[in-house]
């Protein structure tokens, strides 16, 4: 069995953060650990890999659960620390 075929299993076991964007109005964040900062312009979420930052305007949290939430509003920028770390390495 090839390595890419087992990636979904890796996601499950390691609880890697997953960010799904629907246009620029809605962003689903799964597997987050906590809310570091929450304002109408910036939302920062703690994840296993680091901090996921979402910038925009009129940002709100909806469908807030312990492991997933949806960020709504006019989303301008999303920063993913894991990707940055990979790029830096």
């Amino acid at each position: 069995m090839s390595a890419p075929a087992l990636e979904w299993l890796c996601d499950l076991s390691e609880r890697t953060p997953r960010v799904t964007s629907i246009g620029n109005r809605s962003l689903l964040v799964e597997n987050y650990h906590g809310i570091r900062e929450f304002t109408a312009e910036r939302i920062a979420l703690d994840t296993r890999c680091g901090c996921v930052e979402v910038c925009g305007s009129g940002l709100t949290l909806s469908q807030v659960r312990r492991d997933a939430l949806v960020i709504e509003g006019s989303i301008r920028d999303v920063k993913l620390p894991c990707a940055e770390a990979e790029h830096e390495s």
Binding site: G34, I35, A40
Partner: protein, 388 residues
């Protein structure tokens, strides 16, 4: 996840508070920033309770801004406890109202609906105990139908239905028996009035006219005989219809100019003092050859003394010729002539259909004469007995 309750939480480190509530099992439908130190949280009742408990523990200000769903309904009902009994009372009143008959309608159907006697039906209903306000459960529709059929007159059908608060009685009066002709009784059909024959329908006998013929009143239309053989005939009662075009005239006339008396302006006044039957002239004058007189009574003695001054004003008049408005007069005469023609039609009592109608007017001297003609089609065949 519903959003029954909206909370406003004020304080610092609100992100931590949210995280703590999530760890304790809360879920939030929506979280919004309401200021640098405030958030608005929409949550269900359980999650709101968790959040409120945490706020209480950490000395944070937490207020309920809006409450919806079943909890809000329960709260509203607790606040307005009279609502439920009121609704129940209203429902009871509605049930009481709707369980009674408040309207009794009588309608007639069928070809002889005009022959129905509503008063007789209502009288019969009253005799059977039907009245406005009676309980609908006491209305026995079948029994009422039977009673009405037996007592209320000649009806071929009577239906009684209870529709909510309305009792509907539908009755179909009996169709009057058609006139029966004795075929063995020999008689002819003749024209009831002058006209031009349009169609001839013979059910018994021989036609004596054909479409297009002009007939006079009393002229033979259908001869009452049947052929037994080529040479031999037998008398029968003639039956059939002869539709003809007939004319009915109505007339009216009016004067184009009339003479009226108009005051010339000259006036004379006489007066007299009157008490009961006695009269004392105060001022006298002569009458005009043509005049109008106006009398005024002026009481001078008060209520208990019938003393009065009778003042008579004489106005001289002269005859003046006044021309009538010809168009107005004509319109008025046309309507009068039409009414006259319709009255003649009604007087003859025939069933007719209007084929055409026209009016004409003529001036003769000082008189405007208007004639309205109704051209109708009607059955003109009648027996000689009916003609006489």
């Amino acid at each position: 996840m519903n959003r029954d309750i909206r909370l406003r939480v004020e304080g610092s480190l609100l992100e931590k508070l949210i995280q703590r509530a999530l760890r304790e099992g809360a879920r939030f439908a929506r979280v919004r920033r309401a200021g640098p130190r405030a958030i608005l949280v929409d949550a269900d009742e359980r999650s709101a309770a968790i959040l409120q408990k945490l706020c209480e523990r950490f000395w944070l200000d937490c207020r309920v801004l809006r409450r919806g769903g079943w909890a809000a309904l329960a709260d509203a009902l607790r606040r307005r406890w009279t609502l439920a009994p009121g609704l129940a009372l209203c429902a009871l009143c509605c049930a009481l109202f709707l369980s009674r008959v408040w309207l009794v309608d009588v309608s007639f159907t069928g070809p002889s609906a005009a022959l129905g006697d509503e008063r007789a039906i209502r009288a019969c209903l009253e005799e059977n105990g039907v009245a406005v306000g009676m309980p609908a459960s006491r209305v026995d529709a079948e029994l009422l139908q039977s009673e009405l059929l037996a007592e209320a007159g000649d009806y071929s059908f009577v239906g009684v239905r209870c529709q909510g608060v309305r009792l509907l009685v539908e009755a179909s009066p009996e169709v009057p028996a058609p006139k029966v002709y004795d075929l063995g009784y020999a008689r002819d059909l003749v024209a009831a009035r002058d006209g031009v024959v349009e169609s001839v329908t013979v059910r018994s006998g021989h036609a004596a006219v054909q479409p297009g013929d002009t007939v006079r009143a009393g002229q033979l239309l259908i001869r009452g005989e049947e052929d037994l053989t080529k040479e031999e005939t037998t008398p029968v009662g003639a039956l059939g219809e002869v539709t003809a075009r007939c004319w009915y005239e109505g007339r009216a006339e009016g004067a184009l100019a009339e003479t009226r008396l108009r005051r010339t302006g000259a006036a004379r006044v006489e007066s007299a003092l009157r008490l009961l039957g006695f009269s004392l002239p105060l001022q006298e004058c002569e009458s005009f050859a043509s005049e109008q007189v106006e009398t005024q009574l002026l009481p001078v003695g008060g209520l208990f003394l019938p003393l009065e001054i009778c003042r008579r004003a004489h106005y001289e008049t002269a005859p003046v010729r006044v021309e009538a408005d010809r168009e107005q007069l004509k319109a008025r005469l046309i309507s009068l002539a039409e009414a006259d023609a319709r009255a003649r039609l009604a007087r003859d009592g025939v069933r007719w259909e209007l084929a055409e109608m026209w009016t004409d007017a003529e001036v003769e001297g000082n008189t405007l004469r208007v004639r309205a003609v109704y051209e109708i089609t009607t059955d003109i065949a009648v027996t000689r007995d009916a003609l006489n």
